[in-house]
């Protein structure tokens, strides 16, 4: 029996030295498990805020896909960094292919944001303390952002994968393929109509910057305009007029960090230089490459030299247009060549800390709505008095004389020109070009622009010749290729025609 006693004692020691039942239950103490989230109104609000947060990442790089391919901007050519040849430069030179890391990054960012929207929309249904009205406002914001993201995606790629609910199994991801653009537009319209219903006209203090009814209407108007549903566009956009927006007296105020979310602002991506991780840094990307502190004010800067205003747009401003000085900086000369390297001035404001600017990114402004409305009316037949009123309101603020007595075509051209300079470097030019031109017109137009830029580059290339594939635009390039990596992962996904 002694044996048994000893063994039992030993086993007691062994078992007591072993552990509590939950010995193997470990979770990351620094983070919240997703299963424990979306439980109450506060957490749902944090999830909605998180979706807004993802828009910052998207806005930071959006100029690559929305402005650089257009005739508005070019690059401060860096003969010392040819690794960029097939990256950012490709968007300027029309040599984008499926291996583009920029498209890959952008594609991932858009769908990650959409995932968080879909997930929050589904999970918030079970949250406690969520009144119907708060729920409607949350849903409205998420659907507005979803519509905005899909609108951008379909401008980039045409037919895109449309996904509006969270996946239950990772394997489902392989069953989603590209949907026709019309289906995508239908979803965008549905989302925006819901957003118009659910969203308030204004928010109380502490919430300014969230998507409003005005933002949803403006975006819906833009979508209709893009679909050439001009009557719908006009009806929708005119609903923005009574909501209390107006133009700032000074054009530059729309971009002034001291005057964020002003009367002209409909929707902007918010940043704050003094909050850790929430600052913007656009000017550090846009200032001329060798400008060091000359533009940013901080001599340790090593700016990107990207998105440089072209001679073409600099010459496009009418004499006396106040917007030119607010938009383009012409005061920097390259220390190497001695030539002026222009830069975007809209997002350059003094900031207290190196590398951290306070500039918000404008997405929708009231002047955009006015010009869209003028366009939508004109496209339905001819310019009406109202159309002139909207157009001239924008011109007047810019210090330009009113226009009158135009034909439908000249009015169309005037609006297009006005949009170019009014909304310059705000990531609409590429879409406007594609929207207002047929593929053939666009091809002719861009190759003409390319020929000018090639003959007289805005920034000198210091003798480095162009490659023979540079600046050759083909009609299919109006749409981007989906990232090659996505096709490697899911071979059933089709590539954009032409690539």
């Amino acid at each position: 029996m002694k044996v048994k006693v000893i063994i039992i004692h030993l086993l007691i020691i062994m078992v007591t030295l072993s552990c509590k039942k939950d010995y193997l239950d470990k979770t990351d103490p620094t983070k919240i498990n997703t299963g424990l989230f979306y439980k109450d109104a506060k957490q749902v609000e944090q999830a909605v805020n998180g979706v807004y947060g993802t828009l910052q990442d998207i806005a930071n790089d959006q100029w690559i896909t929305n402005e650089l391919p257009s005739d508005n901007t070019t690059i401060d050519f860096n003969p010392g960094d040819r690794g960029q040849s097939d990256r950012i430069e490709a968007f300027e030179f029309y040599t984008v292919n499926g291996n583009s890391t920029n498209l890959n990054t952008s594609y991932i960012a858009y769908y990650n944001s959409i995932y968080n929207i879909n997930n929050t929309l589904a999970k918030m249904q079970g949250a406690t303390g969520l009144t119907d009205s708060i729920k409607a406002v949350n849903e409205g914001q998420l659907k507005f952002i979803r519509a905005y993201l899909y609108f951008e995606l379909t401008q980039y790629y045409g037919d895109v994968v449309l996904i509006t609910r969270p996946l239950t199994q990772p394997s489902e991801a392989w069953t989603y393929l590209r949907e026709s653009q019309s289906k995508v537009y239908a979803q965008i319209e549905t989302d925006l109509k819901d957003a118009v219903t659910g969203l308030p006209i204004k928010y109380q203090a502490g919430h300014v910057g969230r998507a409003t009814k005005g933002a949803a209407l403006s975006l819906l108007g833009k979508v209709y305009l893009t679909e050439k549903k001009y009557a719908d566009a006009a009806t929708t956009l005119s609903q923005v007029l009574p909501l209390g927006y107006d133009l700032n007296n000074d054009y530059a105020d729309a971009f002034n960090p001291q005057k964020k979310n002003g009367i002209e602002s409909i929707f902007e991506i918010q940043y704050n230089a003094s909050v850790d991780g929430e600052w913007s840094s656009f000017i550090y990307t846009f200032a001329p490459r060798l400008s060091a502190g000359a533009v940013t004010g901080w001599p340790q800067s090593n700016p990107g030299g990207w998105n440089i205003p072209t001679n073409d747009i600099i010459n496009a401003y009418e004499p006396g247009d106040k917007r030119k000085d607010a938009s383009v900086g012409l005061d920097f000369k390259s220390p190497v060549t001695g030539e002026t390297v222009p830069y975007i001035k809209k997002y350059n404001h003094p900031h207290a800390v190196y590398g951290r600017t306070d500039d918000n990114w404008p997405v929708l402004r009231y002047s955009d709505v006015l010009l869209m409305l003028a366009e939508a009316i004109n496209e339905q037949g001819a310019p009406t008095t109202d159309a002139y009123t909207y157009l001239n309101k924008v011109r007047h603020r810019a210090g330009l004389a009113d226009v009158s007595g135009l034909t439908q075509q000249t009015f169309r051209d005037t609006v297009a020109h006005e949009r170019r300079v009014e909304l310059a470097f705000e990531n609409w030019r590429w879409f406007d070009l594609k929207r207002t031109m047929t593929p053939d017109e666009l091809t002719t137009f861009l190759n003409a622009y390319a020929a000018t830029e090639k003959a007289h580059p805005t920034v000198t290339r210091q003798g480095v010749p162009y490659s023979n594939t540079d600046y050759v635009f083909s009609a299919f390039e109006a749409l981007f290729p989906v990232p090659a990596n996505e096709i490697i992962v899911n071979p059933k996904l089709t590539q954009t025609p032409g690539y």
Binding site: V3, I6, I7, I8, L10, L11, M14, L17, C19, Y23, L24, D25, K26, D28, T30, I32, N33, T34, G35, A47, N49, G50, Y52, P79, G80, N97, G98, N99, Y111, N112, Y115, N116, V161, L167, S171, W174, A205, G206, H207, G209, R210, K260, Q270, N272, V275, E278, Q300, N302, V353, G355, Q462, V464, P465, S467, N468, T469, A484, I488, V489, N490
Partner: protein, 1022 residues
């Protein structure tokens, strides 16, 4: 609790039976005896067997035994681990006095196995023991260096020459695609993890065993599938105190034939000029005017400076120092060993250094006949002076190859020429000499490693051992980059920055082991039951700063901005029950079985536990009667094993999904936001390996020759892998159990040792042949592509090896337009670019992966190690050789060192590039007129990595003074050359570089270079 009780019950009954049997036999014919060792001490545990039968007994603690013989006289065979077996005649009633002689041959060695030891001749698994006498003169700043070429099936590769860095150890191939593939290190019974770290002093090591097959490793369950390295530290031996003092000093250099040859300043200016003029000739079809050429390189012959940046970064004759003092002593009750060691290796790159101070105290002893205790304490403090970063093109080593050679190191006033290049279209880099010298980058690692145990013997054959192991690791890191250091294409001044990091880990484990050992008749049985639990927790603290008032106060307090301030915590835990039975019958038939049930916190709810069984059997044919005629064969054993092991080398919380911060600004104020950071996989479970091992062990000519051959077949399934997910899911990867991989191969090891008069000679060699193959990838896609379009791809797909090198097959250089026209269409191709193979035969080479094929195999056909040594009178010598044959390396760095844009310095060989149809070059270098169809992943960058290293040659002289006037008993002086010669056609300096690892093997993007070291040393014994 009840369950384990019932398992033990049969053992108790067996024991009662034995008592009964012993009593019953006591009435027959008896022989008594006492067994002593050479010193006269009583020997416990010697086996006494009656020849021709399988009956036997074992000596008691006083060395006494009583055996009953079947007839009046018999022959007894007396054996003991580590001693020469004797045969003696005995008659009834006689009393024998037997003195056992020590036996030095390997076969009688005790082999350290998981949770115990075993006699070499009874081992049925695959266990390799490292011969530490062969590696004693190697200047090893890290003990993993000692494994190079020493054991079959174990590859130890040095991917980087960073001072004090660990070698990469792989046991029997790459067993996993996504979880780790490093073996488990167990120090004095304490599983410290899949890395030994930098702090462990190799001089403290008594023994290294490497467990390879399933029956050896399954006892470590979920961490066994990549093999287990068991390290036992030294302890005192009975006898007078011994003081050892050893010191060595070495110098390190990079041999000139291991340096990559780049263009010098003038040649680079000429290259720039040629590029400029060739472009005008090709694109504008005219002869350029000399005055068009930018002034910077218009007259190359007037280039003022020429700097070999690689040479400039080297610290020639960098010293290596090692000092070690140990005091060991012991008597019958107490053994102890105290040691202190200091290693200091200055790096071959300027201002890099590793040093480590380690002290150890090992003590164990008997409290009484039943209780013994022991404690091992090891404290160490290591310091790394690091280069900012060394691996890859953009860092020190890569940059020192491709930086503009026309710039000087110093300006005329003696200050650094800080920004190298950065003009006339050449990449700007920080002066590598200045970066090495002026960037502070320091890591301190303090470590405390302890093992304590108490062992209770009871009921004659039972032992219970309870041990507690603890590891504390304190790792701090600080880097300060002054404002005058440029970035890549970013001239100074820049914002100075500081990064601080603290990582503190505590890991403890406890083992409760119950063992039963008995020999009765011809049966010897050894039973082990155990329970183990281990828990690790790491806390981190990070902070950074920017905007310093000057570079003189490199501390966060001076930084106007605090960046990346963060704290974190993570950890894991496991627990397991395990058991093992080793059974030997008649010294001929060997059986072993083990089982472990283990749970890990890393896996999903409901799949946390895994079962790991293993069995093996061995047959010592040489002990059979029919073999007794073959006198030259002293031992021959056939053995086989099969079992299941696991791999839990995945992230701590892989089965779970978490929210992460994604804040936003509303009304110009911070609002808190949360987004989902990953996709959970609650089904995540063990990765399991099933391994079969068949082997034969031979010993012949009085054990002078030993030979082992083995075959193994290991299939790993449910492989843990981060698999790519379509981005439309919101994420790009998730962790899942997919895929199946097979590693099978042969291993051979032989050793011959002889002594003719006073000339000793020994040779030991091994060959390992491993083939790995992906059997299935049960993911949504049946292939895994890792890497990128311009940086080399690796593909894993069924039927091919893991991570086969993948890319375009380069067929040559297009000589002219006519050749382009008649070849498959390559969009934008011009004469002088590479011509690629049209794999899908659609007459177009698409600018993606469609036309890519397997262009290399990163896995050697075989690897080998050879050690030859000898002694003559007072001299001894040894030569260590190892190598790998039949594999490919993708030399990624050449995408830069062969970059024809003129933005980097290029290989000297680039003079033979394609210029025009009349000067097509040597067919390896493309035109400078474009970049497309030149730098994509292609076979041009693939080279054979086959190589042979003469790793070490050393020569020693031992002096044993006869005059008592000298204080020491013996003195050994030696000289050795390490990393001596590399014999290879591979153009890189180190064919073991594996910059990315895992499923991205065989890519060389340059790393910290390997130095050749000459060392002199002296060992005193007092």
């Amino acid at each position: 609790m009840k369950k384990y009780h019932s398992i033990l019950r049969p053992a108790c009954i067996t024991w009662l039976l034995l008592i009964f049997l012993a009593k019953a036999q006591a009435q027959s014919r008896q022989v008594d005896g006492t067994i002593n060792d050479e010193t006269g001490a009583a020997m416990q545990g010697a086996d006494i067997i009656i020849k021709g039968s399988s009956k036997g007994v074992r000596s008691d603690p006083k060395g006494k035994f009583t055996i009953t013989i079947p007839e009046n006289s018999a022959v007894l065979i007396i054996s003991h681990v580590g001693y020469v077996t004797q045969e003696l005649p005995a008659t009834t009633g006689s009393t024998l006095r037997i003195t056992m002689q020590k036996n030095a041959t390997a076969l009688n060695d005790v082999v350290v196995i998981g949770y115990g030891t075993q006699r070499r001749r009874e081992v049925t698994g695959s266990v390799a023991t490292i011969d530490l006498t062969a590696t004693k003169d190697i200047p090893a700043a890290n003990p993993t260096r000692l494994l190079v070429g020493q054991a079959p099936g174990v590859t130890a590769t040095q991917a980087t020459g960073k001072p004090g860095s660990e070698f990469t150890i792989n046991v029997r191939g790459l067993g996993s695609l996504g979880a780790g593939s490093a073996p488990l290190y167990v120090v004095d019974g304490f599983p410290v993890g899949t890395s030994l770290g930098q702090n462990f002093n190799g001089s403290d090591i008594e023994n290294i065993s490497i467990l390879k097959d399933a029956v050896s490793t399954a006892i470590y369950g979920a961490r066994g599938s990549n093999g287990v390295v068991l390290i036992t530290t030294k302890n005192g031996k009975a006898g007078a105190p011994v003081l050892n003092v050893s010191s060595s000093y070495g110098i390190q250099n990079i041999p000139s034939n291991r340096k990559v040859k780049m263009l010098n300043g003038q040649e680079f200016a000429q290259f720039k000029k040629d590029i400029f003029m060739d472009k005008i000739r090709y694109f504008q079809n005219r002869e350029p005017d000399i005055n068009e050429v930018p002034l910077d390189y218009r007259y190359p012959e007037q280039t003022k400076n020429s700097t070999n940046w690689f040479d400039a970064t080297l610290h020639d004759n960098a010293p290596f120092q090692n000092y070690y003092v140990s005091l060991s002593q012991g008597n019958s009750n107490l053994h102890s060993m105290l040691s202190a060691g200091y290693t200091r290796q200055e790096g071959i790159l300027l201002n890099t250094k590793f040093d480590n101070l380690s002290v150890r105290g090992n003590i164990d002893g008997k409290v009484n006949d039943n209780i013994s205790m022991g404690l091992k304490v090891n404290g160490s403090f290591a310091t790394n002076n690091l280069a900012q970063a060394t691996e890859g093109r953009d860092n020190i080593v890569g940059a020192s190859l491709i930086a503009d050679p026309r710039d000087p190191i110093y300006n005329a006033d003696g200050s650094y020429h800080a920004y190298v290049g950065g003009h006339d279209g050449v990449f700007g880099f920080s002066n590598p000499v200045m970066s090495l010298t002026d960037i502070q980058s320091r890591q301190n690692i303090g470590q405390l490693l302890t093992n304590a145990f108490i062992e209770i013997s009871f009921l004659k054959n039972f032992k219970f051992k309870s041990s507690l192991n603890g590891l504390l690791n304190y790792n701090s890191y600080k880097q300060f980059i002054p404002s005058y250091i440029p970035g890549e294409n970013a001239p100074p001044p820049r914002d100075a920055s500081e990064t601080d990091q603290q990582i503190n880990t505590r890991n403890y484990s406890t083992d409760q082991l119950l063992t039963y050992n008995n020999t009765f008749g011809s049966h010897r049985i050894n039973v082990l039951l155990g329970y183990t639990a281990q828990d690790e927790k790491t806390t981190t603290l990070n902070a950074g700063g920017a905007q310093f008032p000057s570079d003189l106060t490199p501390f966060l307090g001076s930084a106007a901005l605090k960046t990346g301030v963060n704290s974190g915590e993570y950890g894991w835990s496991l627990n397991a029950f395990f058991g093992r039975v080793n059974y030997v019958f008649a010294e001929k038939y060997l059986f072993s079985g083990s089982f472990r049930r283990e749970g890990s916190s890393r896996f999903g709810e409901g799949v946390k536990y895994g079962n790991f069984p293993a069995v093996s059997a061995g047959w010592r044919i040489s002990n059979e009667k029919f073999m007794s005629g073959i006198s030259w064969l002293s031992d021959m054993k056939l053995r086989g094993s099969w079992g299941i092991t696991g791999n839990n080398g995945i992230p701590n919380y892989g089965a779970l999904a978490f929210m992460s911060d994604k804040n936003y600004i509303l009304d110009n104020n911070l609002v808190r936001g949360q987004v989902v950071s990953n996709i959970p996989n609650p089904l995540l479970k063990w990765e399991k390996s099933k391994q079969l091992d068949l082997g034969v062990d031979l010993a012949a000519f009085q054990d002078k020759l030993t030979f082992t051959a083995e075959y193994y077949d290991k299939i790993t399934s449910d492989m843990l892998l981060s698999i790519p997910l379509p981005a439309i899911s919101g994420f790009t990867t998730y962790l899942a159990n997919v895929g199946k991989v097979q590693n099978k191969g042969f291993e051979f090891a032989a050793r011959y040792k002889t002594k003719v008069r006073n000339i000793g000679l020994w040779v030991s060699g091994n060959v390992s042949i491993n083939r790995n193959k992906v059997l299935a990838i049960n993911g949504p896609s049946d292939r895994l592509l890792a890497g990128d379009f311009y940086g080399g791809y690796n593909i894993s797909r069924p039927g091919s090896p893991i991570g086969a090198i993948f890319g375009f097959r380069m067929l040559g250089v297009f000589k002219n337009q006519a050749e382009i026209d008649k070849s498959p269409y390559q969009d934008g191709a011009i004469p002088g670019v590479y011509k690629y193979y049209d794999a899908d035969h659609n007459d177009t080479i698409s600018y993606d992966t469609k036309d890519m094929v397997q262009i290399g195999n990163p896995w050697p056909k075989f690897t080998y190690g050879l050690t030859i040594g000898g002694d003559f009178k007072h001299f001894d010598w040894s030569v260590l050789i190892n190598g790998a044959q039949g594999y490919d390396i993708y030399r990624v760095i050449e995408a830069s060192t062969m970059n024809m844009d003129g933005v980097f310095n290029v290989l000297e060989e680039s003079k033979q590039r394609y210029r025009n149809e009349q000067n097509p070059g040597n067919g390896r270098f493309a035109t400078t007129n474009t970049w497309k169809w030149e730098r994509e992943s292609n076979s041009r960058y693939v080279y054979s990595g086959s190589h042979m290293w003469i790793r070490n040659i050393s020569l020693g002289y031992t002096f044993n003074p006869t005059t008592p006037k000298l204080m020491f008993k013996s003195l050994r002086l030696y000289a050795s050359g390490d990393n001596l010669f590399l014999i290879t056609k591979y153009p890189g300096s180190n064919p073991d570089i594996n910059n990315r690892g895992g499923i991205n093997p065989g890519l060389d993007d340059e790393a910290y270079p390997l130095a050749r070291t000459f060392t002199f040393g002296a060992n005193f014994t007092f």
